[in-house]
């Protein structure tokens, strides 16, 4: 029999016992829905975690440090081959070079210093960090009190909530107020003769140059108070309490620990940085960029291995969710077997007639297969829609709950096209497997006995 005729007959047969077939199809739909809802939850949570982690910059960043250590300027480098490579300073030249590497989207230095903060007569010592403009989208500032910096060069500050509590009993009231930073500015010496002579006498280097350290003050407007620690997510390894725009922080020319080493190494004119963060296009570019940076003579660190572990955890998570979802579909497939076996009993005579009219065993088997497949198809499509609805309801409920906790809503369920198509395909396959026994039983019926059946 031709496929079109077979499909028409199958649909007609399904329509005739509409209640029973609808209930069986509904059983398949519920099974598929539970599978889709569970997997959409797994996919949604994985997507959410990936997005958050990507936005946090932990997994698409390479942290670069100089290979220099704090050994004395006269001591030779260690004899290992890595250290024999050119030991380079992490200065602005290096920054330019790093930003030219392929797949690199952003390079910024870590400007971090401990300084004195004054507010309303209080004086507190704390850690200050410069934030690149890209941290605006890192997600760390979602739900913060106030707003993000108005521009990359704004003379503004965001406070971490713990530090804000130190400054005021009413942290939100700090927004809009000014605070003052007292810090040590690094500058080049204009007249260094005496100091140089002294230094030469001390170090015996005979090299010119030097640095000056000048105390400065800077008044900054507090624009926001954040509960999270954005410095943890952008390569700063946490701990900072006051955040400034990176460019503003750079313009302060705050003396860095490396300055002393630079001074001792005889090249104090160029400021160098403790570390730089190199952001790459996607986490998969990290190994290649990391290797290229090492070739340039810097030390690197990334959290790529953590991404792999995360992926493993989610794969296992998805597997278990899928298994639980499949259980419901297995129960539904028993419903299909039951329905089709009952249909064989009911339609015994019909099978006999079909065979008497010249239907082959294959025709009869295909007809029952087509009916099982159609139940799988309809159940699958309906089940995907139902699963999507369940997932949406979960997202909706979660969002309401999070809003009540003053947290931004998140999409915890996500049905990608591949999940929808796979679920429909899986429902059809399971239905066909469920139809195997009834179909072969129908095909084996003896036409004479089937025709005698009342």
């Amino acid at each position: 029999m031709k496929t079109r005729d077979l499909s028409e007959l199958a649909v007609r047969n399904l329509r005739e016992a509409v209640l029973r077939n609808s209930l069986t199809t509904l059983g398949v739909a519920v099974g598929v829905a539970s599978l889709v809802a569970m997997l959409s939850l797994g996919v949604g949570l994985q997507t959410l975690a990936s997005q958050r982690l990507t936005r946090s910059g932990l997994f698409d960043a390479v942290f670069v440090t100089s290979q220099r250590n704090f050994r004395g300027p006269r001591q030779p480098p260690p004899p290992d081959s890595a250290a024999k490579r050119e030991s380079r300073a992490l200065d602005d030249d290096a920054r330019q070079q790093l930003s030219k590497l392929s797949n690199v989207t952003e390079v910024y230095p870590q400007i971090r210093f401990i300084t004195e903060v004054r507010y309303a007569g209080k004086s507190e010592s704390t850690s200050v960090l410069g934030l690149p403009d890209s941290s605006r989208s890192s997600g760390a500032f979602e739900g913060m009190t106030g707003k993000y910096f108005s521009s990359p060069t704004a003379e503004e500050a965001i406070l971490q909530i713990e530090f804000a509590r130190v400054l005021s009993d009413q942290p939100p009231s700090l927004v809009g107020k000014d605070l003052t930073l007292r810090y040590a500015e690094r500058g080049a010496l204009s007249k260094v003769a005496d100091d140089e002579a002294l230094l030469d006498a001390m170090m015996g280097s005979g090299k010119p140059g030097g640095i000056s350290i000048v105390p400065r003050e800077k008044t900054l407007r507090i624009v926001g108070i954040t509960e999270s620690d954005p410095s943890a997510g952008i390569g700063g390894f946490g701990g900072a309490r006051v955040y400034l725009p990176l460019k503003t922080a750079e313009q302060l020319h705050v003396a860095q620990p490396d300055d002393v080493q630079a001074f001792l190494s005889g090249n104090p004119a160029k400021p160098s940085y403790i570390a730089m963060t190199v952001r790459v296009r996607s986490p998969k570019d990290v190994p290649e960029v990391e290797a290229a940076i090492k070739q340039l003579g810097f030390a690197t660190f990334s959290l790529l291995d953590a991404t792999k572990s995360l992926r493993l955890v989610f794969t296992v998570f998805d597997l278990f969710l899928g298994l639980f979802g499949s259980l419901a579909l297995t129960v539904a497939s028993l419903g299909i077997i039951n329905t089709l076996v009952m249909a064989i009993l009911e339609r015994r005579r019909e099978i006999g007639i079909l065979k008497a009219l010249g239907a082959t065993d294959r025709d009869v088997r295909s007809l029952f297969f087509a009916e099982a497949g159609a139940m799988g198809l309809f159940g699958g499509v309906f089940g995907v829609a139902l699963g999507w609805l369940i997932g949406s309801a979960l997202t909706w409920g979660t969002t309401i709950y999070l809003h009540r906790q003053n947290l931004p809503g998140v999409k915890i369920s996500y049905v990608p096209w591949w999940l929808a198509l796979s679920a429909i395909g899986f429902a059809i396959v399971v239905s066909l497997i469920a139809g195997l026994y009834p179909a072969s039983r129908a095909a084996r019926l003896n036409p004479v006995e089937a025709l005698r059946y009342e």
């Binding site: 079909l354 008497a356 009219l357 010249g358 082959t360 065993d361 025709d363 003896n446 036409p447």
Partner: protein, 233 residues
């Protein structure tokens, strides 16, 4: 007088059924030769083996021993698919209980053998119309079997049996569920088909008067054996 070509030849055909330890011989070593264009009535009482013999000649059942040759091909040796093809292309069947599918309209029932034979859709409607025209049911094509009388249902079944233009028409007690008027109409129709199309008709019946009136040969069976076999006219 030239003889018609041989169409069916049963050679010592037996059919046994096993019920536990008991072996029931429904057909016992029957040999029969049927020529093309004959209207043969297999006559006998209930349990005489006539329907079993008909089923074997129609390719619905296989003999336990012996051979049934149709156009020199032994049905007993055919594979399942070949036997189905024989039923689809060579044979038309009419049953006592009509056996129309209740869910389908009359025309859909008549179309069913064409679907199974994978006849083009474009040809189907004309062939269905032709078959229904022949049995006088063209106006009832959209009706379901439950909306037709017994006689109409049997005529509908006859249209279904004819739609594939078979060489042999097997009729198993075609008047068994009909009153005498409708029964006679069906047999008249069978005769008309035999005369106009030259079709071979093999009919099972237990009504001797009808067999004597319409068939041109009667084979009498009793307890699975062929008791007599003779021409009527």
């Amino acid at each position: 007088m030239p003889t018609a070509p041989m169409l069916i030849q049963a050679e010592s055909v037996s059919r046994e059924y096993r019920l536990g330890e008991t072996v029931i011989r429904a057909v016992d070593a029957i040999s029969l030769r049927i020529e093309q264009g004959e209207f043969l009535a297999l006559l006998g009482s209930s349990g005489s083996g006539k329907s079993t013999l008909l089923s074997m000649m129609a390719g619905l059942d296989r003999p336990t021993s012996g051979a049934i040759r149709v156009r020199e091909r032994n049905l007993a040796e055919l594979e399942g698919d070949e036997l189905a093809r024989y039923r689809r292309e060579t044979v038309g069947m009419v049953f006592q209980s009509f056996n129309l599918l209740p869910r389908m309209t009359l025309e859909e029932n008549v179309e069913l053998p064409l679907r199974l034979a994978e006849v083009d859709r474009s040809d189907r409607q004309s062939r269905v119309g032709e078959a229904l025209e022949r049995v006088g049911l063209a106006a009832r094509r959209r009706h379901r079997p439950s909306e037709l009388s017994g006689g109409e249902q049997q005529r509908g079944a006859l249209a279904r049996a004819l739609v594939n233009r078979p060489a042999i028409l097997f009729a198993d007690e075609p008047t068994g569920n009909l009153d005498s008027v409708n029964g006679e109409q069906i047999l008249l129709l069978l005769r008309e088909i035999q005369d106009s199309l030259g079709m071979t008709i093999i009919m099972v019946t237990h009504e001797r008067p009808l067999a004597e009136r319409f068939a041109n040969r009667i084979a009498l069976l009793s307890d699975g054996r062929l008791v007599s076999d003779g021409a009527q006219r």
